[in-house]
């Protein structure tokens, strides 16, 4: 908005906005700070903010005692794998719905979204039993497939809204010039849709990374990602605030940074283009 405001007004608003922002951000800041404290300082009363002996020991301990990196690797494999797999399926599907719409395309899209409405607990029992029978419990492959299926409707929707904005004439022109369907998709559509595909990719990596129902219930140790790792700290013997903070910081840092980069695209992605 370009309405003129007095400097005093702007100052007040700035102070208010920063206060709200810092309050919302504070738990994250506090976690990061605590991760550098020696364990006794972490529970000191009154709490200590900055003047303590900063240490990296917690990070070291979390890796050495709890094999942090194994979980981290599982998170990376599962979230990247499920997203890439989802994109491979969804790009052609979204392409066909965006450029060759049929009478039922809209219903189809709504139906896909409605599969997201199904509560995970509704299918927990059979999925668990199927996984047990097939030996997929606690396997990366099983979890990757499940997360792919959960996020597939979102991936299709997001891609669809991005593809829709590409003028069909360009594709027609390519076709006139003799481009085959596959080269049309690879050489014409994909470069134009790359920003959309990229933000779909980012958002779904974030969603998969933070998914905390299937990742916790379908894994034990071998395929357990960071969600399970952190949930393990809820038991009383795991109550070391500084170590918990170090583990938490490492679990959220990569996704937080990704999130900051993708936040501009986040709104239209998560609202399926309904809010831009």
């Amino acid at each position: 908005m370009s309405r003129a405001v007095t400097p005093a007004r702007k100052t007040i608003n700035t102070v208010l906005a920063w206060t709200v922002a810092l309050i919302l951000f504070f738990p994250i800041l506090w976690t990061v700070l605590t991760s550098f404290k020696p364990e006794p300082v972490a529970v000191a009363s009154p709490p200590v903010f900055l003047n303590f002996d900063w240490t990296l020991k917690n990070y070291y301990d979390v890796e050495r005692q709890r094999d942090y990196f194994d979980y981290f690797l599982n998170s990376v494999i599962i979230s990247l794998g499920s997203t890439v797999l989802g994109l491979v399926l969804a790009v052609p599907a979204a392409w066909s719905m965006a450029f060759v719409p049929g009478r039922r395309t809209k219903d189809l899209l709504m139906w896909m979204l409605s599969t997201k409405m199904m509560p995970a607990v509704g299918v927990l029992v059979p999925i668990y039993l199927i996984f047990r029978t097939l030996g997929l419990l606690d396997s990366r492959i099983g979890l990757t497939v499940v997360l792919m299926l959960i996020n597939l409707p979102i991936i299709v929707w997001m891609l669809y809204t991005y593809f829709r904005e590409i003028p069909g004439e360009i594709l027609e022109a390519a076709r006139m010039d003799g481009a085959t369907l596959s080269s049309e998709i690879i050489y014409v559509l994909t470069p134009m849709a790359l920003p959309g595909i990229a933000s779909t990719f980012l958002l779904n990596v974030i969603l998969a990374w933070n998914e905390a129902f299937w990742t916790i219930n379908l894994t034990v140790t071998d395929a357990a990602p960071l969600t399970k790792f952190i949930a393990g700290f809820s038991s009383p013997q795991g109550l070391f605030y500084a170590k918990l903070s170090a583990a938490s910081t490492m679990a959220i840092a990569p996704i937080l940074v990704l999130g900051w980069f993708s936040q501009r695209q986040l709104v239209r992605g998560l609202t399926f283009g309904a809010v831009k």
Binding site: G102, T115, K116, S245
Partner: protein
């Protein structure tokens, strides 16, 4: 623009996705239905067979059931209320000309990217803990007795945690919607002497209606399945005071190993979610077409 050939190709490219989602939706659902009529405990696999509606009666007559339904609605409703109202407030604030708007945006959106177990454990241990949490310290500072948040008000505390995770989402979407509002309209209203409250009520709020609907729809989808936060904070307790439907089914299935009753619970959850979904989809469909 589409030729016969491209139409066939389009079908071919669409079908794997549709097929997979269809299988993903139907197979587990049919199995859930099947198990819900069977006697099936994972600990006693030999005792099996058709038992009619017993599982349903079991699930619905359990003392925790109605509480779980109420808790589910309180949780979803509470978080929606906090995030939509709070989101509008914060969005209005950030939309004003301020210094460092970009950084404020990033700070505000950050909690959305925190995985649920981290968010819940950080709040549980470092804020809510009645002996050395930050809230307890603050209470001591003003000479009040520390309050055991998760013990005394478990559901309220969980609502607080989940709201913290989802407030950024609501804020960001409402802010985006707000920024697409033309300033001429507001200026015109201002010149006509409309006070801020009326400008908000008659111009901004109607403009935000669509964004608010979207926020409610998407949050509801995710909030009905809230699980990680409950698991690591209260385990559904004390007693069953913070057990939601999702958590109750989880308990039946993976803690009591009663697959039959859990399946019946799953069916109940699906039915409830569908009732909510029908209302939501209708509202959203109307709002999105316009």
């Amino acid at each position: 623009m589409s030729t016969q050939a491209s139409r066939v190709a389009a079908r071919a490219m669409l079908s794997p996705t549709v097929l997979l989602l269809l299988i993903w939706m139907i197979v587990p659902l049919v199995l859930t239905l099947w198990f819900s009529f069977q006697r099936y405990n994972l600990l006693y696999p030999d005792r099996s067979g058709f038992i009619g509606l017993s599982n349903y009666l079991n699930f619905v007559s359990a003392p925790a059931f109605w509480g779980a339904i109420i808790n589910t609605f309180l949780l979803v409703g509470g978080v929606l209320l906090v995030t939509v109202v709070g989101g509008i407030g914060i969005a209005l604030l950030i939309d004003q000309p301020i210094w460092g708007q970009g950084i404020v945006r990033i700070l505000v959106i950050s909690p959305f990217f925190i995985m649920p177990p981290v968010a819940a454990l950080v709040w549980k241990n470092m804020f809510f803990n009645p002996t050395n949490g930050l809230f307890a310290e603050a209470f001591k500072l003003i000479e009040l007795r520390p309050f055991d948040f998760l013990g005394q008000a478990p559901l309220g505390s969980i609502i607080m945690i989940v709201s913290w995770e989802w407030l950024p989402f609501a804020t960001l979407i409402l802010l985006t919607a707000l920024q697409s509002l033309s300033s001429e309209q507001l200026e015109a209203a201002e010149m006509d002497g409309a006070p801020p409250v009326k400008r908000f009520w008659f111009i901004m709020l109607p403009h935000l209606a669509r964004a608010i609907t979207v926020v409610i729809l998407i949050e509801t989808i995710f909030l009905l399945g809230i699980f990680g936060e409950i698991l690591v904070t209260t385990n559904g307790g004390p007693g069953t005071s913070s057990t939601t439907l999702t958590y109750l089914v989880y308990k039946e299935a993976l803690l009591d190993f009663d697959a039959g009753t859990a399946a019946a619970g799953g069916v109940v959850a699906v039915i409830l979610a569908n009732i909510v979904a029908v209302f939501l989809m209708r509202a959203v469909g109307r709002n999105l077409d316009a």
